[in-house]
Amino acid sequence: MLLVGLLVWEAAIPAQKAVEELTEYERLTGAGAAKAGVPPPSQVIAKAWEQLSNPFYDAGPNDKGIGIQIGYSIYRVLTGYFLAALVAIPFGFLIGMSQVAYKAFNPFIQVLRPISPLAWMPLALFVIGDSEASAIFVIFICSIWPMLINTAFGVAGVREDWINVARTHELGPVKTAFTVILPAAAPTIVTGMRISIGIAWLVIVAAEMLVGGTGIGYYVWNEWNNLDLTSVVFSILMIGVVGMTLDAMFGFLQRRISYVE
């Protein structure tokens, strides 16, 4: 399947004319410059080979290896994401355990949640000032909601019987939270975490296109400006691979902590 697809793609792209064959007119209009077109798979594979054999080279601000660019993106995603988890999970516990807290905070969550994370960018840039921190903030804000809502939902849905087991065994509130509520709600919480990491990875590309400097999003945009579509296609594939890996990690975690009632 994949192979056939790649062959069709390869065949669909007309070979570029050799420069000698060009007419005078074509030469004048600049068609002689390497023409930007969708690259055939062979070129992308060659590019991938070239990039992946030396992913961490650093030849100045506009020429860094794909490994370095992805590293920057992952660093931003994970920082923002873990800060969000640090806030969302305890806060979700609070909202899930208390009807009052739920009623008090729910309207705010409902208003803040549908805001596109990129809409926060100008405000973040203005308030925080630093573009790096702003990108992390945007990741923070976009990954917080699924984790918060799922944690609250999971905690609120813990069966009364299990809470009663904790109560009849005289477990304190902290012990109950860690030995009963957390494992009981874990599948729902991790589902939220998995959704969040997916969204964070989607958003980082767009955020880096805006703030620039480093990262896979910036790299894609930069290569587009260079009209290097081979690199663009290659980095699109890399974005997919990294996203898939992040998702698979949470999928694994999800299988580990899931249980059958």
């Binding site: 009663n164 009849t168 065994h169 005289e170 059958v260 009632e261």
Partner: protein
């Protein structure tokens, strides 16, 4: 002298949803002695679970109180173990971990090895040995799950063990086996047990005394029937005991007819509403030859 467990003037009312109040039971008073196996029998909805939740400390009565071993019951405690109808095992823990969970809570200063050894011993007492103790509850049958739950409760040596229709969801054969196991483990432990059921035969097989509840709303504990069949009991042998059918008939009569007639009786203010003690014993020599009725002697206390 107060009994070991004393239930005093317990009243429970709930809002009935239409602005009024629903009195589940009113001024219920009874006692349970140390080491006694007491079964409470009554129709569905008469408030048995409500009483049990109060004894467990999981719910608060509207008025009245419970005193165990001289101390008023306030909130749940490790001194009162509970076996719920739906087993209430933690599904993410293995069978063994479900028991060690309780043991570790009861004996926080025990080593991990000692906790596991203790838990394994009690699982073996209900017939769970070998690989099966490393399985999750979802991989066990209903009967096995209830065994785990019973092992968890007994392993903690509570002062009072509460069982809420523990065999209600099991098929008759499994129920029989686990009843036998419960009897065996109870015989070894001298555990005080308070159990809810709506199965008459189960009650006769297990109990020292059966408390009979009238129908709700406004139910009361009307009678306390002594089971005058010697232990150890065996389900096939007790039916041949002369008292078996007399007791059984009395219980069937009560549940079939009198539980309805007696329901809704309002308590006389200030009076303590103890259940009437009923002792049916056909093996005793009859003192009163004129009395040709079945030997039914009512003693009020």
């Amino acid at each position: 002298m107060k009994p070991y467990l004393s239930i005093e003037n317990l009243t429970q009312r709930f809002p009935d949803g239409a602005g009024g109040e629903l009195t589940v039971f009113e001024d219920a008073s009874f006692g349970v002695e140390k080491g006694e196996f007491v079964v409470i029998l009554g129709h569905s909805g008469c408030g048995k679970s409500t009483i049990m939740n109060i004894l467990a400390g999981l719910a608060e009565p509207t008025s009245g109180g419970v005193i165990m071993d001289g101390v008023e019951v306030k909130g749940p405690s490790l001194d009162r173990g509970v076996v719920f109808q739906n087993y209430s095992l933690l599904p993410w823990l293995t069978t063994l971990k479900n028991v060690t969970f309780g043991v570790a809570a009861r004996y926080p200063d025990w080593s991990k090895a000692k906790v596991e050894e203790h838990a394994t011993k009690f699982l073996a007492m209900v017939g769970l040995e070998g690989d099966v103790i490393y399985r999750k509850p979802s991989q066990l049958s209903g009967g096995m799950r209830q065994r785990v739950s019973i092992a968890r409760a007994f392993a903690n040596h509570p002062k009072l063990l509460l069982l809420d229709e523990p065999f209600g969801a099991l098929d008759a054969l499994t129920r029989g086996t686990i009843q036998d196991e419960l009897l065996k483990i109870w015989g070894q432990m001298e555990q005080t047990v308070f159990m809810i059921t709506h199965d008459i035969d189960e009650a006769i097989l297990l109990a020292d005394r059966i408390l009979l509840m009238t129908n709700g709303p406004q139910a009361c504990v009307a009678e306390s029937v002594e089971i005058t069949i010697p232990r150890p009991r065996n389900r096939t042998e007790i039916v041949e005991h002369p008292n078996y059918y007399a007791i059984r008939n009395h219980l069937v009569q009560f549940l079939g007819k009198r539980s309805k007639e007696l329901s809704g009786r309002t308590a006389v203010a200030g009076e303590i509403n103890r259940p009437e003690t009923v002792r049916i014993d056909k093996t005793e020599p009859q003192d009163d030859p004129e009395d040709t009725r079945p030997a039914l002697v009512a003693v009020s206390n």
